[in-house]
C-alpha cells in the first residue's frame, strides 16, 4: 500500500523492463484486444456517435473557458444542499484536508471508491502516515492494494495480473488485513469475486467514513456523479456517516442536460457497455438518508497550469474512460507503469508533463512515447487531439533546452535542417550517399551498422543507399530529352 510512483525513470527504461515481462505482455494483449472489440461493437450501434463526441467536447470546452464561474456556482449549490466545500491548491493541501476531516470523526479507517484523483495525490499514503487505514473496495484496486503493487490502467488498475496471480494474492494477503480468502479458493472469476465480496462486506458494514472521487460534478445543481460497475461505490456512498469526495476542478459539467451526453459517451468508451450497472448521484446531504456529513474537496494540483496553455488545455476535457489506452499500440506492449503515474497511455503521456511540469527526465520522455499513429484521437469520446498535443509538448521539451549546450540530437537536427533547407545542399549530401551506393554495387541491404544507427539495425536490416537518387535520374532524363 505504501508504493508510490515517485522517482520513476524515463519511459524507455520502464518500457524495456515491461517488454521483457512475458506474462504482462500476454495479459495486456488479451485484455486490450477484448475491450477494444467490445467498445467497437457498442459504439458502432450509436448512429449519432460523432455528434455526441462533438457535444461532449463542446460541453467540456465551455467548462474550461468559464471554470471560475462554474466552480463558484457548484460551490454555492453544494453549500445550499448542506455539503461543506474545501479548496485545495495541491496534493499536500488536499491530503491535509482529508486527513483532518477523517481525524475529526475519530475513525481510524475509511472505505474508498475507486478514484483517480486520490491516487494522483497519493491520499492513501497520507492517510497511512496519519494512522488511518484506507481500504480500496473496487475489485481491481483491491488486487493492486493487496499485492502492494502500482496501478497500470485507469479503468482496470490490475490489468497486468491474471486470474492465477489474483488467486495467489488473495490467499496470501486477505487474512493480514481482514477476512481471509475462503479455503480452497480457485481462480474462477465468480469464486474470486465472491472472495472479494466476503472480504469487503465487513469493511463496508463497519466503516464510518468513505472517500470517493466523482466522474462528474454538475454546476447547475451541485450534484456529484459516480459511475461504476460493481456496486462497491454505492455501498461506500450510502452506508457511512461521513462522505468525503475529492474532485479535480476539471470534472465539472455545466448543466444536468449535459450529463445525458456523457452517460452515453462514458460507459461505451470505457467498459464497452451500453450502460454501466451503477450510477450514483447525490446533491449535498439528504435528511436521514445516506451520509449526514458530506464534504467535497475541490483540487487543482496543476490543473490551472494546464489551463494556461491554450493548446494543451484540451487535455482537461478527459473523462478518464481509458479508450485511448486500450487502443494504443505502445500501451498494449508496455502497460501502464512505464508512464510513471496513475495516468498512463496517450492521455498520461500528455497529462503527466502538463500536470507535473517538464523538469524531470520521465516527463521529458513521455511526449515521445508514441508513434503518433492517431488511434487514440479516433476513439476519444471528447475528441482530445492527442497526437497534436504530443507534438506540441515535444516542441516544448526541445524549446526548454534551447540556449544551453546542444545535445547530439539537437546538433543532428540542426545539421539536417541546414542540409534540407536548400536543394543544392541536399544534392551534395545525396552524392555522398550514392557514392556509398556505388561502392556497394547494388547491394540491397547493409544489414547491421555501428552506432548511432545501431539503434535501428539491432533488429532491422538497414537499406543500402541506391546508386542514383531520383533527382539524378530525372536530370539525366531531362538532359536526354533536351
Amino acid at each position: 500500500m505504501s508504493r508510490t510512483f515517485v522517482g520513476m525513470p524515463k519511459f524507455q527504461v520502464g518500457a524495456r523492463h515491461a517488454l521483457a515481462d512475458t506474462q504482462l505482455r500476454r495479459n495486456l494483449a488479451h485484455a486490450t484486444r477484448t475491450i477494444r472489440a467490445k467498445r467497437g461493437a457498442v459504439v458502432g450501434e450509436v448512429a449519432d456517435w460523432e455528434e455526441l463526441r462533438v457535444k461532449g467536447a463542446e460541453a467540456k470546452d465551455r467548462v474550461l473557458s468559464n471554470l471560475d464561474t462554474y466552480l463558484v456556482e457548484l460551490e454555492a449549490r453544494l453549500v445550499e444542499a448542506g455539503a461543506t466545500v474545501h479548496w485545495a491548491r495541491d496534493a499536500a493541501e488536499a491530503n491535509g484536508i482529508v486527513v483532518d476531516l477523517v481525524k475529526a470523526t475519530g475513525a481510524d479507517e475509511v472505505v474508498k471508491v475507486k478514484s483517480m484523483a486520490t491516487v494522483e495525490i497519493e491520499l492513501n499514503q497520507a492517510l497511512e502516515a496519519a494512522g488511518i487505514a484506507a481500504w480500496e473496495t473496487d475489485l481491481a484496486e483491491l488486487i493492486v492494494q493487496l499485492g502492494d503493487d502500482l496501478p497500470s490502467h485507469i479503468l482496470v488498475p490490475a490489468i497486468h495480473r491474471n486470474r492465477a496471480e489474483v488467486r495467489e494474492i488473495f490467499l496470501r494477503e486477505m487474512g493480514k488485513v481482514g477476512r481471509p480468502a475462503p479455503e480452497g479458493l480457485t481462480d474462477e472469476p465468480p469464486r474470486l469475486a465472491e472472495a472479494a465480496r466476503l472480504h469487503l462486506r465487513e469493511k463496508f458494514l463497519r466503516a464510518k467514513v468513505a472517500v470517493s472521487g466523482a466522474n462528474f460534478a454538475i454546476a447547475e445543481t451541485g450534484t456529484l456523479v459516480v459511475v461504476e460497475s460493481e456496486g462497491n461505490g454505492r455501498m461506500c456512498l450510502t452506508l457511512p456517516d461521513t462522505l468525503i469526495s475529492v474532485v479535480g476542478i476539471e470534472k465539472l459539467l455545466p448543466t444536468w442536460d449535459d450529463l445525458g451526453v456523457f452517460l452515453q459517451l462514458l460507459p461505451r468508451s470505457s467498459t464497452g457497455e451500453r450502460m454501466n450497472p451503477y450510477t450514483s448521484m447525490w446533491t449535498g446531504r439528504t435528511e436521514e438518508d445516506g451520509p449526514q456529513d458530506v464534504h467535497v474537496v475541490l483540487v487543482d494540483n496543476g490543473r490551472t497550469n494546464v489551463l494556461a496553455d491554450v493548446v494543451g488545455r484540451q487535455a482537461l476535457r478527459c473523462i478518464r474512460c481509458s479508450a485511448c489506452l486500450n487502443v494504443c499500440p505502445v500501451y498494449e506492449r508496455v502497460g501502464g507503469k512505464a508512464y510513471g503515474s496513475v495516468y498512463p497511455g496517450p492521455i498520461g503521456a500528455v497529462l503527466g508533463p502538463q500536470l507535473r511540469g517538464r523538469q524531470g527526465k520521465l516527463e521529458q520522455s513521455l511526449p515521445y512515447a508514441s508513434t503518433l499513429c492517431g488511434a487514440c484521437f479516433d476513439v476519444c469520446p471528447v475528441r482530445i487531439e492527442l497526437p497534436d498535443l504530443l507534438v506540441h509538448l515535444r516542441t516544448r521539451v526541445v524549446d526548454d533546452h534551447r540556449g544551453g549546450l546542444p545535445s547530439a540530437e539537437a546538433l543532428t537536427m540542426r545539421a539536417g535542417a541546414f542540409t534540407l533547407s536548400r536543394a543544392d545542399r541536399l544534392e551534395k549530401a545525396q552524392n555522398a550517399a550514392t557514392g556509398v551506393g556505388h561502392l556497394l554495387r547494388g547491394r540491397a541491404s547493409l544489414g547491421r551498422v555501428p552506432w548511432p544507427l545501431s539503434a535501428w539495425s539491432e533488429a532491422r536490416d538497414v537499406p543500402a543507399p541506391p546508386r542514383h537518387t531520383f533527382r539524378q535520374w530525372w536530370a539525366k532524363r531531362e538532359g536526354g530529352r533536351g
Binding site: 524495456r16 508513434t371 488511434a375 539491432e458
Partner: protein
C-alpha cells in the same frame, strides 16, 4: 482534354533512398496522360523536425515548400505521411512563426497537395490504372494515410483493379507498425516489439510482397522481415501500379 500538369513532390526520403518510387509515379502518371514536372528546388516537408519537437527548424522548410509548389495546380506525393505533414501541420508551423504571409501561402497550397491514391481516384477519377502484377500481396494501410489524411479504401480499390494480383487481407491491418519516425530510434525497443507483431501478421498472409503507401514504414517492417530472411519483399503502391505486362517492375 489537355493534359493535367502535375508537380511531383518526391519527398527527400524517396528521392535519396527509394528513387524507384518517384520513378514509378512518373511512369504511372505519364501513362495516364499527365504531364509531370519535378521542381528541382524541392527538398523536404519537415515532418521529422516537426514531430521530434524541432518546430523552429521546420519553418524554413515550410517556406521553401510553398515557394516551390505554390504555382502548381496539383502536387502529387507518394507518401501519406509527408502529405499529412503538409496538409495537417504546415499551417500550425506558419502560425507559430507569426508570419501571416506564410500562413496565407500555406492555406493556398495545401488543398492542391494530394497523396498518390487520392490523386488517382479523386482527381483523375481512375481506379483501374492498367497495371499488371501477378503476385500474392498484402497491403498495410499506414497510420498517417489512414488516420491523418484519411485515404480510406482508395489504395485497396486501386490494387483490386490490378490484373493478375492476388490481394489478401492483412490481419490487424489498421494497427501501427511501430515506425513512428524518430520513435523507431528513440524508443527502439517498443518500436521493434510492435514491428515484430506486424511482421508476423504479414507472414501469416503467405504474401510474397508487402505493399504500402509509405516507404518509411516499409523500411521498418521490411528491415525486420529481411533480418528474419522471411522471403517477403516490400514495395510501394506506386511501383505496383506502374507495373505492366510489357514493363514489369
Amino acid at each position: 482534354m489537355s493534359a493535367v500538369r502535375v508537380a511531383l513532390f518526391a519527398t527527400c526520403f524517396n528521392d535519396t533512398m527509394w528513387p524507384s518510387t518517384p520513378k514509378a509515379v512518373v511512369t504511372l502518371l505519364e501513362r495516364l496522360g499527365c504531364t509531370v514536372e519535378f521542381p528541382r528546388a524541392q527538398t523536404c516537408c519537415g515532418q521529422m523536425f516537426t514531430n521530434t519537437g524541432y518546430a523552429a527548424e521546420a519553418v524554413p522548410l515550410v517556406r521553401s515548400f510553398v515557394d516551390v509548389f505554390g504555382s502548381y495546380d496539383a502536387v502529387v506525393v507518394p507518401s501519406g505521411s509527408c502529405t499529412g505533414s503538409v496538409r495537417e501541420q504546415h499551417a500550425g508551423l506558419a502560425r507559430r512563426a507569426g508570419d501571416p504571409g506564410l500562413e496565407a501561402a500555406v492555406e493556398a497550397v495545401t488543398p492542391k497537395v494530394h497523396e498518390l491514391s487520392e490523386f488517382l481516384v479523386d482527381v483523375l477519377g481512375v481506379t483501374d490504372v492498367g497495371a499488371y502484377f501477378p503476385h500474392r500481396v498484402t497491403y498495410h494501410p499506414t497510420c498517417h494515410s489512414l488516420r491523418m489524411i484519411r485515404v480510406g479504401d482508395r489504395p485497396l480499390r486501386l490494387l483490386r483493379a490490378v490484373r493478375g494480383i492476388d490481394l489478401v487481407d492483412l490481419p490487424a491491418a489498421e494497427e501501427c507498425c511501430g515506425f513512428g519516425g524518430t520513435f523507431a530510434m528513440k524508443n527502439a525497443d517498443v518500436s521493434i516489439a510492435m514491428g515484430s507483431d506486424k511482421a508476423r501478421h504479414v507472414r501469416e498472409t503467405g504474401a510474397e510482397v508487402l505493399i504500402a503507401g509509405d516507404n518509411s514504414c516499409l523500411a521498418h517492417i521490411g528491415g525486420l522481415l529481411e533480418r528474419q530472411r522471411a522471403g517477403v519483399r516490400t514495395m510501394h503502391l506506386a511501383e505496383v501500379l506502374a507495373a505492366t505486362e510489357e514493363d514489369p517492375s
